[in-house]
Amino acid sequence: TGAAPAGRLLCGPGLRRSGAGLLVTKCGLLRHRPAGPGAYWVDSQQKRYVPVKGDHVLGIVTAKAGDVFKLDVGGSEPASLSYLAFEGATKRNRPNVQVGDLIYGQFLVANKDMEPEMVCIDSSGKSSGMGIIGQDGFLFKVSLGLIRKLLAPKCEIIQELSQLYPFELVLGMNGRIWVKAKTVQQTLIIVNILEASEYMTAEQRRQALAKLSGN
């Protein structure tokens, strides 16, 4: 970073400022984004999720405590979700949430010192896809790196799978994926392909999909 042009440089995940220099805290590939405020970060492979503000995650309701639901998001403590944080919810019109339901929301508060808080509405009050996830479908866990790969724009895996069967897909940044297709068998096939795509190369994936669509 000696001859870099002057300007702001952001430290992303895996890097920390220590004194005058940078400390690398995780192992992985160093990535750089030159545009806008330039940013450096470390792309590391991890399975354990740590809540981050603004992340969209899939949580499972574990308890109802008064006006607040406790959700398990896979972090070190359960997140709290107020019953008013749904679109169109008022004190009279409460959302129908039971223990064991699946909820897709984003973190409003997530730092190391406080209990994480989730909401199912964005800043303008609209739900934009968040809220209670309906019945059926299949929830499974993958590594965080695979989720980031799937969320990249124009992800090949999702494009190729959508040519196979129509399906609904919800990706949570905490490593959880929810899939629903027309039949149970189709759902399970999609689940297996997504899980295996972590280790398969693009060629192997295309071969597997070709075999499936041939059947």
């Binding site: 400390l23 805290t25 590939l29 492979q45 354990r48 070190s76 403590e77 790196g145 280790y199």
Partner: protein
């Protein structure tokens, strides 16, 4: 939790499993740092006093390296299972612990590795001794060496040796540490090049 890395040096093999940062019991949680716990399970029998003392040594080494302030009120558990023991067990546990921490993606300020030296009665120093060499040696020293400045994080001695001999063992261990760090780098390189 993560796919446990298993480290074998010669015939000594240790499996490491890391869980965390997870919810800590109220009695064990610390308000400003993560509570690190190490469990060492021997190959046969129940863990005894020797395992407990090794657990404390490993815990103190890991605490020096893990940035626990980033995860207050959580618990990080490291479970080490001895698969086979043919000498240099403590340094194998240290290496397995470090690879486990790397694999799980916990924030670390530096890496560490373990090196064992055996001092034979005639003064020759052997690195990574076998169980036989450890028994015949006058003293067995194990060092945990950190990766950034090759400083000593932990040193433990069994037997007696002079200060000069300990310094010589330390210098040899610091040189050997480079090979171990290169091995970490190669192993992780292979892992990341697959994705």
């Amino acid at each position: 939790s993560s796919i446990p890395p298993s480290l074998s040096a010669g015939d000594t093999s240790v499996l490491a499993g890391l869980y965390g940062p997870a919810e800590a019991k109220l009695s064990k949680e610390l308000p400003d740092r993560a509570a690190l716990e190490v469990l060492l399970r021997p190959k046969v029998g129940l863990p005894g006093v020797l395992e407990r003392s090794r657990e404390q040594q490993l815990r103190q080494t890991c605490e020096a390296v893990v940035l626990g302030v980033l995860h207050p009120r959580t618990a990080i558990t490291l479970v080490l299972q001895v698969l086979s023991d043919a000498g240099s067990l403590l340094s194998c546990c240290l290496n397995a612990a470090c690879m486990g921490l790397l694999d799980a993606g916990l924030p670390l300020s530096s890496l560490f590795c373990g090196v064992t030296c055996a001092l034979s009665p005639d003064g020759t120093i052997t690195l990574d001794p076998t169980a036989r060499q450890e028994q015949e040696a006058r003293a067995v020293l194990t060092f945990a060496i950190d990766s950034s400045e090759k400083k000593v994080l932990m040193a433990t001695t069994k037997g007696s040796c002079s200060v000069e001999e300990m310094q010589q063992c330390l210098v040899m261990a610091q040189r050997a540490a480079d090979t171990i760090f290169q091995f970490y780098r190669d192993a992780l390189h292979r892992r990341y090049s697959k994705s």
